[in-house]
């Protein structure tokens, strides 16, 4: 069990940006666009067969030619400001019953990613994911930031359009980051590495559906671009945001007017106060989610 490196470039204290799929694929879309924009080169991979069941077999003329597993690849790029290591996992290793990794396999994978990072002298890690928030889909997503050390608080506060857990009413600085995008922060802490998770917001009424939310990805990309001192062309992500906006809007328009009116309240209130009656009650929320679920299921051609 381990990793395989295709090459061993000399890197100067690279920063690692690691990501696995999650809600709205917010992190993975952002990191993949970043990878392509900076022109990162292939560096290596984690041997996926230890973690995953194969997803595709190719048999040609009676001979097994290939067995394909979800990929877990490393990339690297030397930039003027800093050297970058990127890791993109196509799937989170699970026991088949949960959507997000946990337990031994997740811990093993997190350690393998950090083994490679440390091998190249990395001291700082960024992961990315989604923050489910009571926002409207027309609003600009903010980015929730969670560092793994107290002395990183000032740094993360300086990023534009970000919030700490303690900035969010009712949270009191508490929360969870599910799966490997969160676990890596903990394992990094254990191994003495600084780590920060940046999570783009996704509206609460959209997060349960298997659709990407590029608006959240764009917010993450903007933060990463600033942090890394890299200018990233936003054309591609802007096009994705526009397309996604159109799709969400077409579903939204077909919602019963009473549901839409409830959701429209989110345009004006950033976060509901849990100790007071919010703009949307729990009962409203349940009804809204059921209604949207019904609409998505009716949508032709949607998985």
């Amino acid at each position: 069990m381990g990793f395989r490196l295709y090459k061993e470039p000399r890197l100067d204290n690279p920063v690692l940006i690691a990501c696995w799929p999650g809600i709205g694929n917010i992190g993975i879309i952002a990191v993949d666009i970043l990878r392509r924009m900076v022109g990162a080169e292939d560096l290596g991979e984690i041997e996926s067969w230890d973690f995953f069941y194969p997803r595709r077999v190719l048999i040609r003329d009676g001979e097994l030619k290939d067995l394909e597993f979800p990929s877990n690849k490393f990339y690297f790029k030397r930039t003027e400001k800093m050297d970058l290591l990127l890791f993109i996992g196509e799937e989170q290793p699970t026991d088949g019953t949960k959507a997000y990794a946990e337990g031994t396999k997740a811990y093993r994978m997190a350690n393998l990613v950090l083994d490679v990072a440390l091998k190249f002298g990395c001291r700082k890690v960024y992961t990315s994911g989604a923050a489910v928030a009571p926002i409207h889909h027309t609003a600009r997503s903010r980015v929730w930031v969670v560092p793994n050390r107290e002395d990183l608080i000032d740094e993360v506060k300086s990023y534009e359009n970000t919030v700490l857990m303690s900035d969010i009413e009712g949270r009191d600085g508490q929360g969870n980051i599910t799966g490997l995008n969160g676990l890596l922060l903990g394992v990094a802490k254990k191994r003495g590495l600084e780590a920060i998770c940046v999570m783009g917001e996704i509206p609460i009424y959209i997060h349960g559906f298997p659709i990407p939310y590029p608006k959240g990805s764009k917010a993450v990309l903007e933060v990463l671009s600033t942090v890394l001192g890299i200018e990233v062309q936003m054309d591609e992500i802007n096009a994705l945001v526009q397309q996604s906006d159109r799709e969400i809007e077409s579903v939204y328009e077909r919602l019963p007017s009473e549901i839409r009116e409830q959701l429209d309240k989110l345009k004006y209130v950033a976060y509901a106060r849990p100790n007071e009656p919010g703009p949307i009650t729990e009962e409203d929320k349940k009804r809204i989610l059921q209604e949207i679920d019904r609409l998505f299921k009716k949508e032709p051609g949607r998985d």
Binding site: W49, P54, R55, R56, V57, G62, E63, L64, L67
Partner: protein, 257 residues
């Protein structure tokens, strides 16, 4: 030879049992289920409590080791590595064959074919002298995943162990019962490949019994006869017709009407 208990028409385990009986095989080793299977209780099948089993059998005087196992639920690659470790280090295995049934839309009166997928060109070449269909093209479709046998074949290839998956089509209406004709086809291959001198008498008896029973069903139930006639003439059945054929055939063959 490797057989998985979770197999279409139970071809693999039936062939393993038959070879074990005919060759008076003895248990050689087993893989402990811990870590590979859900041990949260037991399943019950045909009134009997089941428990995952992964056993190697050794056939005295023959160049054959049989591994019969349930397909693990966790740690697939680790499980396959263990299988290959035992096969390689303790049994000095040179070739690995997996056996499995595949669903066929054809009739039971159609002669059984044996399809092979090799994990190397050399293995494919070696298998040419046997009566196998060895030109299959296949790619996993959306919503499906590769068989565990393919995973094993790939893992064997990584160790430079020659391997092949043998697949025998089983008529869809015999999947829930058994298809001795399919089992015989596979057993014949092993008999020839490893000069086992298998006595096929019991298998012939079983085929004759099943053929007679199906003939009886056809004479008593003209509707089912019509369905099988259609299949024999390469005509498809509707979903309702297929379901009825499966249900009735299972009831009659299991119930022994």
């Amino acid at each position: 030879m490797i057989a998985w208990n979770q197999d279409a028409g139970r071809v693999g385990p039936k062939v393993a049992d038959y070879l074990n009986k005919e060759l008076a095989s003895r248990e050689l080793a087993e893989i402990d289920p811990e870590g590979f299977f859900s041990l949260s209780g037991v399943s019950v099948e045909d009134d009997i409590a089941q428990f995952p089993e992964s056993k190697f059998y050794w056939c005295r005087g023959k160049s054959l080791v049989i591994f019969k196992s349930d397909i693990p639920r966790y740690e697939w690659y680790e499980f396959l590595s263990l299988v290959l470790d035992i096969a390689e280090k303790y049994c000095k295995v040179k070739e690995i064959y997996t056996v499995g049934g595949m669903v066929s839309p054809g009739a039971h009166t159609t002669p059984r074919l044996l399809l092979s997928v090799a994990n190397s060109t050399e293995m494919k070449r070696m298998l040419r002298k046997y009566d196998l269909i060895s030109d299959m093209d296949y790619e996993t479709q959306d919503g499906q995943r590769p068989t565990f046998s393919s995973f094993l074949l790939w893992a064997a290839k990584r160790r430079n162990i020659a391997g092949a998956s043998l697949w025998v089509p089983v008529p869809f209406y015999l999947l829930a019962v058994e298809d001795p004709g399919a089992c015989k086809k596979v057993t014949e291959f092993f008999d020839r490949r490893f000069e086992l001198n298998i006595n096929f008498a019991d298998m012939h008896d079983e085929i004759t019994r099943q053929d007679r029973k199906i003939a009886q069903i056809r004479s008593q139930l003209p509707e089912l006869d019509g369905y099988i006639n259609k299949l024999e003439n390469d005509l498809g059945l509707t979903v309702d017709e297929s379901e009825k054929l499966v249900k009735e055939m299972e009831e009659w063959l299991r119930g022994g009407y």
